[in-house]
């Protein structure tokens, strides 16, 4: 078991440009079932051995795809996401960076009544190690196991997955929820999936300054947590009012501070690592309790 994706997940690639092609190849190498791609006007042709379709709906009909990964550039990304949602794809993973907030608000509004789970945008995607990856993460840093991992970052996720793997702590599913202010699967919802997943024994939450997703995740776990968890918050030394790279990582007023997030986790009995290198040790401690 795992959440969101497993070895049977059938993926199409929206946006077969340079990046899309490169990562479609890496995903296939990993064993992900990449069953098609969309490129309007190129339906019936193949790119790198992958069959192309004019529309998402026709790709779904022909291939039985139940997941999509979106590389479409920001100006056209809303359209691509809405097309995937309209085709009732179960899982849509958006890698695209820089989508206007107004576009994501519209997508979020459509998602309220849709059957789709959207992960991202502006994230690395998701991976169930040993089974399937739908994303751009370097697979060799991940290993199969029982740690469910939710993160707002890209490279920091790889770094921490690498630390976990080296410490013998394999992962059930890793979800990069994305660094934008409006995302499809916010941290609390991703944590809920892992909390209810029988294959997940413990949860690692990697947050950032900005927003209140971590506080809400902590609150949820305090009320309904079934398994041990460890957290890390990036940006504890960031000054207020400065946006730290990710559009979502900004402390404004007394909103979104690292202190408030750390306090939230600690009040829920969830230890907070002072550095990524501290996560494996804390995780082993909570697992042995």
């Amino acid at each position: 078991m795992s959440v969101l994706l497993d070895r049977n997940t059938r993926v199409i690639v929206q946006g077969m440009g340079r990046e899309g092609r490169f990562h479609a190849d890496r995903m296939k190498e990993y064993g992900t079932k990449v069953v098609g791609g969309t490129k309007p006007g190129a339906g019936g042709t193949f790119i790198d051995g992958i069959p192309m379709f004019d529309t998402v709906a026709s790709a779904v009909e022909e291939t039985g795809a139940n997941a999509s990964i979106v590389f479409v550039p920001a100006p056209a990304a809303m359209d691509a996401l809405l097309e995937a949602i309209d085709a009732q794809i179960e899982l849509v993973i958006a890698i695209t960076e820089g989508i206007p907030v107004a576009d994501m608000l519209k997508v979020a509004a459509v998602l309220e009544t849709a059957a789709t789970t959207l992960v991202g945008p502006n994230g690395p995607g998701a991976i169930t190690p040993g089974q399937s990856k739908i994303g751009i993460m370097p697979a060799e840093n991940f290993s199969p196991g029982g740690v469910g991992f939710v993160s707002r970052s890209g490279t920091l996720t790889y770094e921490i997955a690498d630390l976990l793997t080296r410490a013998g702590l394999g992962q059930s599913t890793c979800i990069g929820v994305g660094g934008d202010p409006v995302i499809g699967l916010p941290t609390p919802d991703a944590v809920r999936l892992l909390n209810e997943d029988p294959a997940t024994e413990a949860i690692v939450i990697v947050g950032e300054i900005g927003g209140s997703a971590e506080e809400r995740a902590a609150e949820y776990l305090r009320a309904e947590g079934k398994k041990p968890a460890v957290a890390f918050i990036a940006g504890r030394s960031a000054p207020p009012g400065k946006r730290m790279g990710h559009a979502g990582a900004i402390v404004s007023g007394n909103q979104g501070t690292a202190e408030s997030k750390v306090r939230g986790f600690e009040e829920a009995g969830i230890p907070v690592a002072s550095a990524p290198s501290d996560i494996p040790r804390l995780l082993k401690e909570v697992l042995h309790h």
Partner: protein, 381 residues
């Protein structure tokens, strides 16, 4: 991206929201003739991208054109929060009976726009929001439908707007929502929204902050972008595809990925130091990228050491190492460099860096400790 009050007011006016008669001036003489043309008491207001202008003395009321000239002389050239005032907006003073607040921004938790209306407008709205949040009425319109009439009415009733102004405020709120949507705003705000003694309603101030990610389709607004001196390095970095923020410490930071760079800043602080900047080079770290990043970081005279923290993902550690070597051979940096490579082919990368004029460390914590130690060493002769 922020626009000035006078620019925001033009946008409001085009949307049909009433604003006071006003003119822009860049010299005291221009301010005088603006006041003459308006023919009434005026407010002379500094146009800078900073809040708290009133408290800083950047807004003065003038009863005559010569007073307006004197006010402009005092305001032009003054500094507000480090920004020099280069222009003033001269505007007919309102005949104020009361002040409302009207603002629209993003509610991240609800993933909807939030419209806020209050009868306690004016300078202290932030304090009101904290001390008595129930004095601010809130509504969350669907981004697909916009602010509907019944939603705006509900806000006006909840906020307790006087009967005589209800219809006007409903209309202004709906027009302001259209501005929010059409300009791809992060924030649009009228504070204060004046109710005048004759019952009319006017936008006393206007704030508009536009989503940088939407500037590709906001060509007219994009032209209004102004870069202040302390944002120049950030702007230069953005042009190169980097994300850069100037901070006030002495350890320069270069890394890939926003989260990783934030964690690097934290590691420097954990080691007892202070970061001089945030710099995320984004994906990859080839020679040209490392060179450009180093130049930006080293252009800050406070920097005493630089830490490069790269997690090789799709990019291989050995390629990153080659990039760094090529840069330091051609352009030896003026301060010590500490490099930490991890991820794909990191060992190969570290072997390549052996013997180079830099410190190489295997972990983020070790590299941060070394960079902090080097920054704190007495200056080398």
């Amino acid at each position: 991206m922020k626009v000035h009050e006078y620019q925001a007011k033009q946008i409001l006016q085009r949307a049909g929201i009433p604003i006071p008669d006003g003119r822009l001036a860049t010299t005291p003489d221009e301010a005088e003739s603006a006041a003459k043309a308006i023919g009434a008491s005026v407010a002379v207001k500094a146009q800078v991208h900073a809040g708290g202008r009133g408290k800083a003395g950047g807004i003065k009321v003038a009863k005559s054109p010569s007073d307006a000239k004197a006010a402009a002389t005092a305001i032009l050239g003054m500094e507000i929060k480090g920004l020099r005032v280069g222009k003033v907006y001269v505007e007919r003073a309102a005949d104020v009976a009361s002040e409302l607040y009207l603002g629209i921004t993003l509610d991240r938790d609800r993933r909807r726009p939030v419209v806020m209306l209050s009868t306690v407008g004016g300078m202290e709205i932030e304090e009101v929001a904290v001390a008595s949040p129930n004095k601010i009425a809130r509504g969350w319109p669907s981004p697909l439908l916009g602010l509907l009439a019944f939603e705006a009415r509900a806000l006006v009733f909840a906020a307790g707007v006087a009967e005589a102004q209800r219809e006007t405020v409903v209309d202004i709120a709906r027009r302001l929502y259209r501005v929010y949507a059409e300009t791809d705003a992060n924030l649009v705000e009228i504070n204060p929204l004046f109710v005048q003694k004759d019952g009319s309603v006017l936008a006393g101030d206007a704030k508009l902050d536009v989503d940088d990610n939407a500037l590709f389709r906001q060509a007219d607004l994009a032209k209004l972008k102004e870069v202040s001196p302390d944002e120049e390095a950030e702007e230069r970095a953005r042009a190169l595809g980097f994300s850069f923020v100037q901070l006030d410490g002495d350890v320069g930071i270069i890394g890939n990925g926003a989260g990783l760079v934030m964690a690097t800043l934290d590691a420097v602080r954990n080691a007892g130091g202070r970061a001089a900047n945030f710099l995320d080079v984004g994906g990859g770290a080839k020679e040209a990228v490392v060179k450009a990043a180093l130049e930006i970081v080293l252009s800050n005279p406070r920097v005493r050491s630089v830490m490069i923290n790269i997690f090789g993902g799709i990019t291989r550690g050995d390629e990153v190492a080659k990039g760094i070597l090529a840069v330091i051979e051609k352009h030896p940096p003026s301060v010590p460099l500490v490099v930490r490579l991890s991820g794909t082919e990191a060992e190969a990368g570290r072997r390549l860096l052996e013997g180079a004029a830099l410190e190489s460390r295997a972990t983020m914590d070790e590299a941060a400790a070394e960079a902090v130690r080097l920054a704190q060493e007495p200056a080398r002769a």
